[in-house]
Symmetry: C2
Subunit: 358 residues, 2 copies
């Protein structure tokens, strides 16, 4: 494997729309959401590990998930963990990773990828990342992967690219979640892609971009350049990380930067953002019921999504298009169309049942 | 307490319409269906024990529930158990009880009562039983308690009584579950009562009735008269009981007998025969949801009946008039209107999940 290839798996989120399975204590990425026998982060690690040496794969996560990561990813050592002492969105974490990687290898090119997404065609994914690494090794560009959209989804950000012949295209614009009318126009125009939060760049290029667009953050974290990959790194991060601005890489770097390029990809991507997106991803029976880790009997029941802790026996009669989820001491029964209410539900759960339930 | 007062609690049934809570291994009467802190049989025993000495209360049940009875009713000894080696409906079991009681005390009057019904007004119940005992002590009559009906329920048997001034009335007729039209006529006529399966008679009178209407059964079980209340009783019953005709006390004795009388009663009776009847019995919240042993959040959800193993946390949104029941490794979600389908459901569960689930 190319020793210049690095990756950062972003694993600090909670995935609160997957309550009750995903909780603060045990978020989505650590669950086997699709019943494949691997958690999402394990699947992500193995996918990337096809191209990147396991010791070059870093995991960015919250301090509280340290043990979960080490248990689930036995090829990972403490040195590969980027433990965020505070939630500061993606920019500070990516700068921290870039500085740490640059300190190890100034020639490094790095992939940044979420830990909790689903990819159907892993071979195609690897090909796309390889293409991106090669482009970033020889060019001072910031790359993002753009997913070929197949519906006017209003839950995603969109990337507008310049119409040009080359495989990798210059980005003209980022648009946050549009309304339906706008999304339809984007889809019709043919030069918009979904922003999946998958980035590739050289450590050198992204650090240069931070110096230009978020210089205060560089001042905070670069001060520690001498400490990266030493015994002092943890203390340095603990003392300084929380001073960084709370800002996403999209707002902080990708939108203002002039050298952003996109590779259109089509490897069967699903962000597993909601129960509905998980339902879409799963195999259905003849009545369009999808089941994870449960034994089921459906009677006059269609379009339901059922997930239990492990192998629970569920009998459902006369119910259509519902989410039925059981986990330890919680059961959720909710119409699929109301999946966006789950944030409200978890707020009510916290008030009524207590903090430990969310 | 009057030492001539005896009682037989009938506890051999399975209550399959209360699946998944009630199963062959652990039937309804051994569960705390209403969340009162006592199982139904415990409640029944304590109610009767207000009038009948605990050593005079016999429990008729299947051999397999022997340990459950002894655990749940610590005042009961082995000698008080009538263990049916085979399911033979109520007549053989009541004859067995009557012979055993007569052997102990030829002056005995005995109450026969189900173990799994609910009674609101226990004081009124005790008064009614006292009245019945007194009537049966001085008269050769077979008594049944008739529940004042408050709806044309087609799930119960009806008792027609002769219009007469006395408190205890002669029975003219028994009618099994009528159709709705007939049930409405019964209700309008004012001389029909529900048959609750609660009987009172002297041991002497019921044995006489068996000799007249089921002489073959007496021949089988009376042969053992010398063995009742001895160490040989169990072996005798094991060898002979299964030879008895499989017939109910209603068909075998009450319908043909000429000396049947009824005491109309109104002590707030519920046979807890279905999830719907349990729902009717329970307190409801402002949205008519009823909950047993669960912590719940209802959002836009009305008229539901929720029961969990113990204290499970259940969140229900957008669901109306359903039964949601969780027990160990089973969840049932079914419309209340389909509660009669539960027998079909359990058949399917047995086929699909296996015998151990029903």
């Amino acid at each position: 494997m190319n020793t210049n290839y690095y990756a950062v798996i972003m694993a600090g989120g909670v995935g609160s729309r997957f309550w009750p399975v995903s909780t603060q204590e045990f978020p989505k990425q650590f669950h086997d959401m699709l019943g494949t026998g691997q958690s999402l982060i394990q699947r992500t690690f193995d996918r990337i590990n096809q191209l990147v040496s396991s010791k070059n794969i870093l995991i960015a996560t919250n301090e509280r998930y340290r043990n979960l990561v080490l248990e689930q990813l036995p090829k990972t050592t403490e040195k590969q963990l980027l433990l965020e002492p505070a939630m500061r969105n993606t920019a500070p974490c990516i700068l921290y990773a870039a500085l740490k990687i640059y300190n190890q290898n100034p020639e490094a090119v790095m992939l940044v990828a979420p830990s909790d997404h689903w990819i159907d065609d892993e071979k195609e994914f690897i090909n796309n990342i390889q293409t991106s690494y090669e482009a970033c090794q020889s060019n001072d560009i910031l790359m993002t992967l753009g997913i070929q959209p197949n519906s006017p989804n209003t839950g995603y950000g969109y990337i507008e690219f310049a119409k040009e012949e080359s495989q990798i295209k210059k980005v003209k614009n980022f648009t946050e979640k549009p309304n339906l009318e706008t999304a339809k126009q984007f889809l019709a125009s043919g030069n918009y892609l979904w922003n999946a939060g998958i980035f590739v760049w050289s450590a050198k290029s992204i650090i240069a971009a931070f110096k230009q667009y978020l210089p205060d953050m560089v001042a905070i974290l670069d001060d520690g350049n001498a400490v990266y990959n030493t015994d002092f790194e943890d203390d340095f991060i603990k003392s300084n990380y929380a001073s960084c601005e709370n800002i996403s890489i999209d707002f902080g770097i990708m939108e203002p930067a002039k050298n952003v390029h996109v590779l259109p990809v089509d490897f069967g991507w699903n962000d597993l953002g909601t129960w509905g997106s998980l339902y879409n991803k799963l195999e259905k029976d003849k009545d369009n019921n999808a089941v994870v880790a449960a034994e089921t009997i459906f009677r006059d029941a269609q379009g339901n999504m059922v997930k239990t802790q492990s192998g629970k026996h569920v009998v459902i009669q006369g119910l259509n298009n519902f989410i039925v989820v059981e986990k330890e001491d919680v059961i959720l029964i909710c119409p699929q169309k109301d999946e966006q209410d789950i944030k409200q539900i978890t707020a009510q759960v916290k008030d009524t049942f207590g903090d430990s339930f969310v």
